[in-house]
């Protein structure tokens, strides 16, 4: 980070430098343009000269002056010659210009007349020439005095009016020059005298002017040189600035290149993070259109890479609305981020295939480059939601279980108290021992009460088994008519007590069917028994009808009936209706629940229809296909009161009461009984002497029945092959299986009934032990 900031700072400095150099360059360019204008002006000045050849013009003044002086001298000479023609006078010194004329005059001295005339003509010419030279000189002076260029130098104050003086003096000759020849001749000498002193002045004026003009030219040159020098300077500065700019640009380019590389590396890293994230990452524009999405998002919402750009958020993000699922708009998402980054925003994701799943969004608005973009990290929380639901369900289940337990305890304690009251009360009466004749009545009450208790326990056991695992159905052919007759026979005494008529209607012959006879019996018995219990002085009708394989059995009664609400609750466990309680009808409230579970397990169902005060109809529909009758030996079980020949019996039981009851039952039938209070003791006794039958309790301290049986079967001894019968309070197919595996031959469920015990002993003594292993218990 610090490295980066240093780079930024250096870049800023570079930008400042760049600005400075650019300004310098700009100023240089302006200066150069200005100077170039100046130079061009100077060049133009040089190209169009404001002067002619100054030196020539100035020197011409002196030339014209001298020419005029010479012409005056020549004219003087001719004048002297002309005068000498009458009186001989030495001629003045000849001048250059008059050489020819002088020679001519020398030659002409002989012929005086002719010479006289010729001299006069020559004088006239000479005078004319004087006038011409004067005019030329006059013009020259005039030009110099009026031409601004020259007048500035010639009328310079330093000269103290010398030129003006000269000009004036020469122009003063004009009247003499313009006068006729005769007058001019007389003026030649004074003119000549006046001219002589003017010569040095003229020289001085011209020398001074020449110097003046030379210095002026010098200044002009210096001026140009100055401008060019300035131009050179500014150009140098410009060159330096441009060089610096080039260097700066190079370094800037390097910094930019380095930064570009860093940016590329950073964006490559970000790209990797973006694409390897396990959460979907979505980028939305302010209109709610998808702009970018990572690979996870493509997989999550099953989007093709081509259709990502511009996809509205609502097509794949939805929320629960008042009327089903609504698409989410971009404004919704941006609004959710109004107060900064937002997490835990739950929505419903919708894949292209149409499947929906819960998602959780973490999002924030990024304001890069003035465009607000929404970055969403989307997590599929299906598993989380599922486990939450599971947790809620198990909590509800636990609560329901708690409620069921409380209801169960309430019902059980009530239902146990009632028969226990009968038993204990009757026992109190018997203990008083009023009259022996009444004891038969008392015994009947006790038996009925105890039977009620046993029914209760059996029901609870049944419901426990059904709850614990699926109901096992063992289908086999059986005679349905026989079964119905048995049920009616068993319920007829109770019906008679209630003043009810129990009858069958519909088809009289149903024949043999295929099904689990035991379970069918359990269900029908329960329904018929209920119908009888809740009807007084009425009719209970069993109606059977077949539709293909489905057998419909309806049990009508004309009893107290139920409300619709009660009809709905009736199949729940431990439900006892107010009517039942008011009428003091005994029951656990489990019968119908059990019946329905069994019916369902058989592939059928039970339904109920009822009207209060008019009666109730339960309808059972069961798949009971027609079967062929199987001829069976007439059951011999009815020889139940046969007493087996005396046997040697070893009774292994830890509970003294149970031991006492069992010993009395066996001894009354003439058997000899040896007691052992636990498994270990039982094993020891079995080693000492032979027993025909060993009755083995299963749950015992020190050594349990299974262990003891195994020990007896394992060690060679007098009882190794004796018949061992288990006595157990645990009931169930799995228990039976386990006991059999341990080497036990038969099982008797507690409580032990004399009838059962006798039958077993009879079977054992007559060898009817043909592998039939089932729990014997009385219902």
């Amino acid at each position: 980070m610090s490295r980066l900031s240093i780079k930024w700072t250096s870049l800023d400095t570079a930008v400042i430098r760049l600005g400075f150099l650019a300004t310098t360059t700009g100023l240089c360019l302006i200066a150069i343009v200005y100077l170039l204008t100046d130079v061009r002006q100077k060049l133009a000045e040089l190209a169009s000269s404001p002067t002619d050849n100054i030196q020539w013009t100035l020197s011409q003044l002196e030339v014209e002056f001298l020419e005029f002086q010479l012409s005056v001298q020549a004219a003087q000479l001719w004048a002297t010659t002309a005068a000498g023609a009458s009186q001989i006078t030495p001629s003045p010194a000849p001048t250059l210009a008059d050489a020819t004329q002088q020679a001519a005059s020398d030659a002409g001295t002989d012929q005086q007349d002719a010479a006289q005339t010729r001299a006069s003509a020559d004088l006239t010419k000479a005078l004319a020439y004087v006038r011409k030279r004067y005019d030329i000189l006059y013009s020259r002076l005039d030009t110099l005095a009026h031409a601004q260029l020259y007048s500035q130098a010639l009328l310079n104050p330093v000269l103290d009016g010398a030129f003006a003086e000269l000009d004036r003096k020469i122009k003063d000759f004009a009247p003499d020059i313009d006068s006729p020849d005769s007058a001019l001749i007389g003026r030649l000498a004074p003119i000549q005298r006046a001219l002589i002193p003017l010569r040095p002045d003229l020289r001085y004026i011209l020398s001074f002017s020449n110097l003046e003009f030379v210095s002026q030219a010098d200044m002009a040159r210096l001026d140009v040189a100055q401008v060019l020098k300035g131009l050179a300077w500014v150009s140098s500065v410009l060159l330096a600035a441009l060089t610096a700019l080039v260097i700066l640009f190079r370094s800037l380019a390097q910094v930019a290149k380095k930064r570009l590389q860093q940016n590329l590396a950073t964006s490559a890293r970000l790209e990797t993070i973006f694409n390897t994230s396990r959460d979907a990452i979505l980028l939305f524009d302010p209109r709610g259109r998808l702009r970018n999405a990572n690979r996870t998002a493509e997989e999550m919402f099953q989007l093709g890479s081509g259709e990502i750009d511009g996809l509205p958020a609502g097509t794949f993000l939805r929320r629960e609305g008042s009327s089903g699922l609504l698409g989410v708009s971009g404004a919704d998402l941006f609004q959710a981020c109004n107060a900064g980054p937002r997490t835990g925003y739950r929505l419903i994701g919708r894949a292209r295939t149409g499947s929906s799943f819960p998602v959780e969004l973490s999002m924030d608005v990024s304001n890069r480059e003035g465009v607000a973009m929404l970055v969403c990290v989307v997590r599929d929380i299906s598993h989380q939601v599922a486990s939450e639901a599971e947790l809620t369900a198990s909590r509800d289940q636990a609560l329901a279980g708690e409620r069921a337990k409380a209801r169960f305890l309430g019902v059980i304690s009530h239902e146990m108290r009632t028969p226990l009251n009968g038993i204990l009360g009757t026992i109190d009466l018997m203990a008083e021992g009023d009259s022996p004749t009444e004891s038969a009545t008392y015994l009947n009450v006790v038996r009925t009460s105890a039977q009620t208790l046993l029914d209760l326990v059996n029901d609870v056991l049944d419901i426990t088994q059904i709850e614990g695992s699926d109901v096992v159905i063992h289908p086999a052919p059986f005679d349905l008519d026989q079964l119905l007759n048995d049920i009616m026979a068993s319920e007829r005494p109770r019906a008679r007590t209630q003043g009810n008529r129990l009858q069958r209607s519909g088809a009289n012959t149903l024949g043999w069917v295929n099904g689990d006879a035991t379970r069918v019996r359990q269900v029908l018995l329960n329904l018929v028994s209920n119908a009888v219990k809740f009807t007084s002085n009425g009719t209970v009708t069993i109606e059977a009808q077949r539709t293909n394989d489905i057998m419909t059995l309806a049990i009508h009664d004309t009893g107290i009936g139920m409300t619709d609400a009660e009809c709905e609750r009736i199949f729940d466990d431990f439900v006892r209706l107010d009517g039942a309680i008011a009428l003091q009808i005994q029951g656990t409230g489990l019968g119908l629940g059990i019946s329905r579970r069994i019916a369902t397990a058989m592939g059928g169902d039970i339904s109920v229809r009822s009207r209060v005060g008019h009666g109730t109809t339960f309808q059972v529909r069961l798949p009971l296909p027609v079967a062929h009758a199987i001829p069976t030996a007439v059951a011999t079980d009815h020889a139940e009161d046969n007493i087996a020949p005396p046997q040697r019996i070893l009774l292994v039981e830890d509970n003294p009461t149970n031991r006492f009851v069992a010993r009395r039952m066996l001894e009354r039938d003439g058997h000899s009984v040896t007691e052992a209070e636990n498994g270990k003791r039982g094993v020891e006794l079995s080693q000492m002497s032979h027993y025909d039958i060993i009755l083995m309790d299963v749950s015992m301290p020190v050594m349990d029945g299974i262990e003891a049986t195994a020990a007896i079967r394992a060690a060679p001894g007098p009882c190794q092959h004796s018949r061992i019968i288990a006595l157990t309070a645990h009931v169930g197919d799995d228990v039976t299986e386990r006991l059999r595996a341990a080497g036990l031959d038969d099982v008797i469920a507690k409580p032990i009934r004399v009838r059962i015990l006798r039958r077993l002993l009879t079977e054992a003594s007559t060898g009817m032990t043909g592998g039939r292993m089932s729990t014997r218990f009385d219902t």
Partner: protein
């Protein structure tokens, strides 16, 4: 230039310059020497040629001057001169030589009047070769200034 011619000229000039007034219209003020003949031209003859007038400043005078004269191309045309050099000579024998091609339709004139007056020898007369100096920087060079011959009285055509 031979002596004879010079004598004639001196006499002529001397006569012409006797008063300060302009030369009489009957006298030749310009001698044109053609390859085959010599022609003298009076002011009247010159004024009969196409007239050209313009205003210009010069570096030898103060303020704008009005010149009236004959365009050199017209003069040369008058004599049927189309090529070669023109030698112009002044009263003080100052002489220049200009190629015929250098005279253009908008170039130099042979001025005989300045500011509405004929010019005397004292006022750069009788003839002055004047260029329209103000019309173009072309006419502001030292060569042009040197060619601007005044007190002109002789022209010689050279093949």
């Amino acid at each position: 230039m031979n002596i004879c011619k010079r004598k004639t000229l001196i006499a002529l000039v001397g006569f012409a310059c006797a008063p300060l007034a302009a030369a009489a219209s009957g006298e030749d003020i310009l001698t044109v020497t053609l390859p085959d003949r010599v022609v003298g031209m009076t002011i009247t003859q010159l004024e009969a040629l196409p007239v050209t007038e313009f205003d210009t400043t010069t570096i030898w005078t103060e303020g704008a001057q009005h010149f009236r004269g004959v365009r050199m191309v017209d003069l040369l045309d008058h004599f049927g001169v189309t090529q070669g050099q023109v030698q112009l000579t002044a009263a003080n024998d100052y002489s220049i030589s200009v190629p015929v091609d250098d005279f253009t339709d908008d170039g130099a004139i042979l001025a005989y009047q300045r500011n509405g007056k004929h010019m005397t020898l004292r006022t750069k007369g009788p003839l002055w070769l004047v260029y329209p100096y103000d019309s173009s920087p072309e006419y502001q060079s030292e060569v042009i200034y040197s060619n601007s011959i005044w007190q002109l009285d002789r022209i010689t055509m050279i093949d």
